[in-house]
C-alpha cells in the first residue's frame, strides 16, 4: 500500500531579504518524511537547520517551492489556517522545555487540547499522557519551576502529544539536559516512535542522532546526505 507521506518538501527555497543583501537560507531542498519515521537533521551552525524546522513547523512559509503536511500544501495558507495546522497536526518539543510558568503541569499539558476544543477539557486525558511519559502523579499539580529539567522535558513531550499530532518536531530536545536525563528522554522518544509517532529531530549531538533511524545532513542550505 502506498501511504501518503506525512511531509513533503519540493525544491524549497527560503530567502531572507536583508538591507545588506538577500540571504538564501535554504536552496532547493527536497525530501519526504513517511509516517512512522524517526529522522534526525544535523548540520553546522548557519547551515539552515532552524529555517528548515520553522518551515516544517509551519511557523514560516517558503519563498518558492512547495511544502505538504499530510497532503495539505501550506504555501497559500492564511495565518489562521497555519496556526490551526500547528495545533492539530504538529507537536513541538523545544530545547528549553518552554512550559508556561503560570499554569500547573496538568494545565500545561492540556493547553493545546483547550485550544482545539475551545472549552474546558477533562484533565484525565492529561494525566493519561503524563503517565505515558512516566511522570509521577504527585507532580501533576506542581508548577513547571518546581520540576527538574528532565521532568519538565517529559511534560513538554506530553504537551506535544496531547492532540495526537502527525509529526513531532524536536529542536535539540536534550540540549539542556545532562547525558543521563537526555538518554532517558531519547528512550522515551524511541518508545513513542515504536508506537507509531513520526519524529523529526534537529540536533548537534551525534550520540543523540544515533537514536533516529535516518539522518539528514544539511550544509549551506542544501541537503548533503
Amino acid at each position: 500500500m502506498n501511504e501518503q507521506p506525512v511531509m513533503v518538501f519540493k525544491d524549497v527555497v527560503k530567502v531572507y531579504p536583508l538591507p545588506a543583501g538577500d540571504v538564501t537560507a535554504l536552496d532547493g531542498v527536497s525530501f519526504r518524511v513517511d509516517r512512522g519515521e524517526f529522522i534526525s537533521i544535523m548540520g553546522p551552525s548557519g547551515s539552515g537547520k532552524s529555517t528548515l524546522l520553522n518551515l516544517m513547523g509551519c511557523l514560516d512559509t517558503p519563498t518558492s517551492g512547495d511544502i505538504f503536511i499530510s497532503g495539505t500544501r501550506i504555501g497559500d495558507m492564511s495565518d489562521t489556517e497555519l496556526t490551526n495546522l500547528r495545533r492539530d497536526r504538529i507537536g513541538f518539543i523545544f530545547q528549553y522545555f518552554n512550559l508556561f510558568p503560570l499554569l500547573n503541569i496538568i494545565e500545561n499539558v492540556t493547553f493545546p487540547m483547550m485550544l482545539k476544543s475551545q472549552k474546558a477539557v477533562d484533565p484525565e486525558k492529561g494525566r493519561e499522557v503524563l503517565r505515558s511519559v512516566q511522570l509521577d502523579d504527585k507532580l501533576f499539580s506542581h508548577t513547571p519551576t518546581e520540576l527538574s529539567g528532565g521532568q519538565q522535558q517529559r511534560v513538554a513531550v506530553a504537551r506535544s502529544l496531547i492532540n495526537n499530532p502527525d509529526i513531532l518536531l524536536c529542536d535539540e530536545p536534550t540540549g539542556n539536559l545532562d547525558s543521563k536525563t537526555g538518554d532517558g528522554i531519547m528512550d522515551l522518544m524511541t518508545e513513542l516512535n515504536r508506537k507509531g509517532t513520526t519524529i523529526i529531530m534537529v540536533t548537534h549531538d551525534a550520540h543523540i542522532a544515533e537514536y533516529s533511524r535516518r539522518t539528514v545532513r544539511i550544509a549551506d542550505g542544501r541537503i548533503v546526505a
Binding site: T80, N84, R86, R87, F94, K116, R159
Partner: protein
C-alpha cells in the same frame, strides 16, 4: 477559559504593579464621580432654594432707557425708575388671564419694641388681594388691615418677632406702628421679591406713608400649562413697541441658565478629574506594554503550539479589563464616600447624595474607567498578538 485564568494569575503574581495601575483608575473614577456628585448636589441644593420661584415673569423698569417712566416716586425708593399705574394696567391686560401683581419696595429704619435697637430692613407693599398668591405663611394670617404686616421667617428669627409683635417704622416711629399678623414661609433666593429678611405691608399703607402712586416691580404669576417664555414675549411686544421701557425676566429661563451654568462648571471639574483618568490609562498602557515585553517568548511558544492571534489578544485584553473593572468599581464605591465627605463639608448637607441623579456621575465614572482601561489595553494586546512566533521564540 484558560486565557482568562492566565490573565488573572499574571496580575496576581505582579500584585504590586497591578494594584498601582488599579489605584490610578480608582483615583480617576473618584475624581470624576465625586466632582459630578458635588455638582449634582449643588444643582439640587440651588434648585431647592429656588423652588418657590415657580413660573413667574418679573417686569421692572428698564434701567438703560432713561425715559418714558414716572420719575421721583415715593420717599425711600432706591431708584428713580418706576412703573406707572397706566403701564401696570397695560401689562395686566396683556398677560390676562395670568395674574399681574404690582409690588412696591423700599427700605426704612424700624424698631421692634421699647429699648430695642433700631434696624433697617426692606419693606414691600402688596395689595392684600394679591398677597396670598405670592406668599405662603408659616404662622398667623394675612392682614387686610392697614396697621397689620407680615414678616419674613429670617426677620422673625433674627429679631425674635412673633405674631402679635409690634414694629415701629421710621425715626421714633414717626411713620406709624404695625402689628405682625403672620410670618412668611422661608423663600430662599428668589427672583421676584426676597421677603425672608423683610416686612410686607399693605399697598395702601405703603402708598400713604411713602406718597407713592406707582410701582417698583410687577410680578406675573404664570398659570399652569402656560409657557412663561410666551408671556415674557407678550409683555415685551406690548411695552417695548418703540423704546425699551421695561426689562422682563422669565424666572424659568433664568433658572435654566443658572442650571446650565452649574452643568458647565460640573462638566469642567469632572473634565479635570478626567485628566487623572487619562494619566491612569497611560499607566495601564505602560504596565500592559511591560507585561507584553516580559512575556514575548511565552507568546511565541503559545503561537507556535497553535494559539490564534485573537486568543493572545484576548489574554491581554482580559488583563486590562480586570484592572479597569476592579479599579472602577472600587473607585465607584469610594466616590460615594468622597461625595459624602465633600457634600458634608461644602454644602453642609448630604441629603442630595442618595438620589438617582447622584448615581449618574458614579455610573459615568465607572464606565469611563473601564473604557479607558480597555482602550489602553488594545495596542499592547494587538502588539502581542501580531508578534512573529519565530522572532518571539528567539527573544531572551
Amino acid at each position: 477559559m484558560i486565557f482568562w485564568e492566565i490573565a488573572k494569575r499574571n496580575l496576581r503574581i505582579h500584585l504590586l504593579r497591578s494594584t498601582l495601575a488599579m489605584l490610578g483608575i480608582v483615583i480617576g473614577v473618584v475624581a470624576i464621580a465625586s466632582m459630578g456628585i458635588l455638582g449634582n448636589s449643588l444643582v439640587l441644593s440651588v434648585s431647592d432654594s429656588l423652588h418657590t420661584v415657580g413660573d413667574s415673569v418679573i417686569v421692572s423698569p428698564y434701567a438703560g432707557g432713561g425715559s418714558g417712566f414716572g420719575q421721583g416716586g415715593g420717599g425711600g425708593g432706591s431708584t428713580s425708575l418706576k412703573i406707572t399705574d397706566q403701564q401696570f394696567q397695560q401689562i395686566k391686560r396683556a398677560v390676562a388671564p395670568n395674574i399681574a401683581i404690582p409690588v412696591l419696595q423700599t427700605a426704612d429704619i424700624m424698631k421692634l419694641g421699647v429699648g430695642s435697637d433700631t434696624i433697617v430692613a426692606p419693606i414691600y407693599g402688596i395689595n392684600p388681594d394679591d398677597v396670598d398668591k405670592l406668599l405662603n405663611l408659616k404662622a398667623g394670617s394675612y392682614s387686610r388691615s392697614e396697621s397689620g404686616c407680615l414678616v419674613g421667617s429670617k426677620f422673625a428669627d433674627d429679631h425674635n418677632v412673633q405674631v402679635g409683635s409690634r414694629i415701629s417704622i421710621g425715626t421714633d416711629g414717626d411713620k406709624g406702628t404695625l402689628r405682625v399678623t403672620g410670618i412668611i414661609e422661608e423663600r430662599g433666593i428668589s427672583f421676584d421679591i426676597s421677603t425672608d429678611s423683610a416686612i410686607v405691608v399693605t399697598q395702601n399703607w405703603f402708598d400713604t406713608t411713602y406718597n407713592r402712586n406707582d410701582y417698583d416691580t410687577v410680578v406675573v404669576k404664570v398659570n399652569q400649562g402656560v409657557d412663561s417664555a410666551v408671556v415674557k414675549t407678550t409683555i415685551e411686544k406690548q411695552m417695548n413697541k418703540r423704546d425699551k421701557v421695561v426689562s422682563v425676566m422669565d424666572s424659568k429661563a433664568t433658572l435654566a441658565t443658572i442650571f446650565s451654568a452649574f452643568g458647565a462648571v460640573t462638566t469642567f471639574v469632572s473634565a479635570i478629574g478626567g485628566i487623572s483618568m487619562i494619566v491612569a490609562g497611560v499607566s495601564i498602557f505602560n504596565i500592559m506594554m511591560m507585561s507584553v515585553t516580559e512575556r514575548i517568548k511565552e507568546i511565541g511558544i503559545m503561537r507556535s503550539i497553535g494559539t490564534q492571534k485573537r486568543e493572545v489578544m484576548s489574554m491581554f485584553m482580559y488583563e486590562a479589563a480586570i484592572l479597569g473593572i476592579v479599579g472602577s468599581v472600587i473607585g465607584g464605591v469610594l466616590s460615594l464616600i468622597a461625595g459624602y465627605a465633600i457634600s458634608a463639608l461644602l454644602l453642609k448637607t448630604t441629603k442630595y447624595l442618595f438620589v438617582w441623579s447622584s448615581a449618574t456621575p458614579i455610573i459615568e465614572g465607572v464606565c469611563f474607567g473601564i473604557v479607558i482601561s480597555l482602550a489602553c489595553g488594545i495596542y499592547p494586546a494587538w502588539k502581542a498578538a501580531n508578534l512573529s512566533p519565530i522572532e518571539a521564540m528567539r527573544h531572551e
